[in-house]
Amino acid sequence: MALPEYDLPDASGHFGQYGGVFVAETLIAALDELKEAYAAAQRDAQFIAEFEHELKHYVGRPSPLYHARHWSAVLGGAQIFLKREDLNHTGAHKINNCIGQALLARRMGKARVIAETGAGQHGVATATVAARYGMTCVVYMGSEDMRRQAANVYRMKLLGARVVPVDSGSRTLKDALNEAMRDWVTNVSDTFYIIGTVAGPHPYPMMVRDFQSVIGREAIAQMQEQCGRQPDAVIACVGGGSNAMGIFHPYIPVGGVRLIGVEAAGEGLGSGRHAASLTAGRPGVLHGNRTYLLQDENGQISETHSISAGLDYPGVGPEHAWLKDCGRAEYVSVSDGEALQAFHDLCRLEGIIPALESSHALAYAASLAPKLARDAILLVNLSGRGDKDIHTVAERSGIRF
């Protein structure tokens, strides 16, 4: 079911009942300033031209659309095409958004940028653009995540960022986001907060989606060119939901294309150790927006689990909540084990080491492909490369370097 008349969020940042601006009064003025600056930048041809220039020359866009022929043949069904965001500079889709927001920060005269990070990918991307544009950079990261992602912590430091450990709450991504918000509210006059996904208060979910939509726009053109038609389904992993929104959004009005978001089922939905907010959560309010959340019966936010730190988040962008409720997108989940299997398969059969986050989307494609005809087409967003994950994978296989 395509949605031809799609024009969300509304002026107050709502996608139906989701989204909005659920923040303390102390942040309202900063969000108003950001909303105005972003609206002005969108109308400014020079801003858009500079964004596109940076995507082309610094990130290396357009990212290729690649037909995974060997893997498709082994699966024995639909043809799987990969949108290669793993080939971007810094190795994931995160940089698209960071460039957009950093250019906006510069336009607003803010010389200091801050970010939250879980896996470290968004932190690395933010540190990268801060170095590129000569900005001071502070990245908040849960102390538990710093332990799990030590290589990315070092990468951020190499790039000149200060990484601040967050010891509150569950010491993971959600707590890093809380801490970044606290920094922003305190240093709002000279600081720009670069949120890494389509969550947070309006205008972030819209703005991050807009910057990431380059993925879907390119894919539509590339599918047409390479296949003469659009895919039967677009599949992407969903943590906060930015790579998925980026590829889904241009497809919302396109008929005949299923949109499938894949969440982390961790050790299984029944185990309580997962991060599948859309599949197993309930609507609530966190981090400035109303959306599906993993929470207990008293409204306290649950601790989550996924083998991929980038999917380990108890919420999800509000636009996904809306797309789920109205039925335009479907949301499924894939366990740690299934994601690992897809990780290994892509390594062996295509010579591509995928991120564990992206491996969730690959795993779902692998389960769907054999049920479809050989001329069916699945488009998978390969959101990042898996070099950062080799320690996690090795540990799972009982290997230590």
Binding site: A24, G169, D175, T186, V285, N298, G299, I301
Partner: protein, 277 residues
């Protein structure tokens, strides 16, 4: 008339200012919350702000975050907070109690059910930190239906337009956050606060309390000079954090008495009288 409006009417007649301590329900122990509330009242509290613990207190600094974590470790839920208020009301039918917390526990309970239960427990006002006016129309009407006062925040960055908007929704009092930052931040610019209060009071017609950065009798006195109420949170939580269970009520009472002296030193009875501390 609500208990909060009655209180401010009485204080105005006496030319006194309100002192509003904040504690987190269930910190350090649910069994100590009601005794702490009574101790605060005896030492001079006019209203008690009772924090509802939440897993993700985005607008709070480390001191109140830790209080929230201790309360959650004790398993304190919103329903239990309401039970604590009901228990406090058993012995104190005078002192207004304002709940302060975040939206999600309230939404998880359901707005209607929450408001009915809060009113039945003897709550007087509710401040949901992450419900700014534009997201709280439904909530405000539910609170009003149960005669609960919706308390709102205003900040140094709030525009004239927003102040007017809050004026159409707020009753009880308005909580003016005196500085940029989270709870527990240090610096307080009294002159800047003084410049904003009369305008807010005039535009909203509601008493204005000031909080964030008030740590001792001197800062309490300075704020009492310009505001209708003085709100103290992190300093009290710090005292709770550093006290043994047996002495926590006494130590908090001593601190509150000092703050009371500060507040009263600038108002009618004590005008000009120096705070002796």
């Amino acid at each position: 008339m609500t208990r909060i409006a009655g209180l401010f009417g009485k204080l105005r007649a006496q030319q006194r200012k309100a002192l509003i301590p904040f504690i987190t329900a269930g910190d350090p122990d649910p069994a100590l919350t009601v005794p702490l509330m009574h101790a605060l009242v005896q030492a001079g509290a006019d209203i008690i702000e009772l924090g509802v613990p939440f897993s993700d207190p985005m607008a709070d600094g480390p001191i109140i975050q830790r209080a929230s974590e201790r309360a959650l470790a004790n398993g304190v839920s919103l329903r239990q907070v309401l039970a604590l208020v009901a228990s406090f009301r058993h012995d104190d039918r005078e002192t207004p109690v304002v709940l302060m917390g975040y939206a999600n526990p309230v939404e998880a309970m359901g707005l209607d059910e929450f408001a009915a239960a809060a009113a039945a427990a003897g709550v007087d006002g509710v401040l949901v930190v992450d419900y700014p006016p534009e997201e709280s129309r439904a909530f405000v009407s539910v609170l009003r239906a149960h005669s609960l006062d919706p308390i709102f925040l205003l900040a140094p960055t709030s525009s004239e337009e927003r102040i007017a908007q809050v004026g159409t929704l707020a009753s009880g009092y308005i909580y003016y956050v005196s500085l940029k930052g989270v709870t527990g931040s240090a610096a307080l610019d009294v002159a800047a606060v003084a410049a904003r209060i009369p305008g807010i009071r005039a535009r909203t017609g509601v008493p204005v309390g000031v909080g964030f950065g008030i740590r001792d009798a001197a800062t309490a006195a300075a704020v009492a000079e310009v505001a209708d109420a003085v709100v103290v949170g992190s300093r009290i939580i710090e005292e709770i954090e550093h006290s043994a269970r047996e002495t926590v009520c006494d130590r908090v009472a001593v601190l509150l008495a000092e703050l009371r002296c500060g507040v009263d030193s600038v108002t009618a009875g004590g005008k000009g009288a120096k705070w002796a501390g």
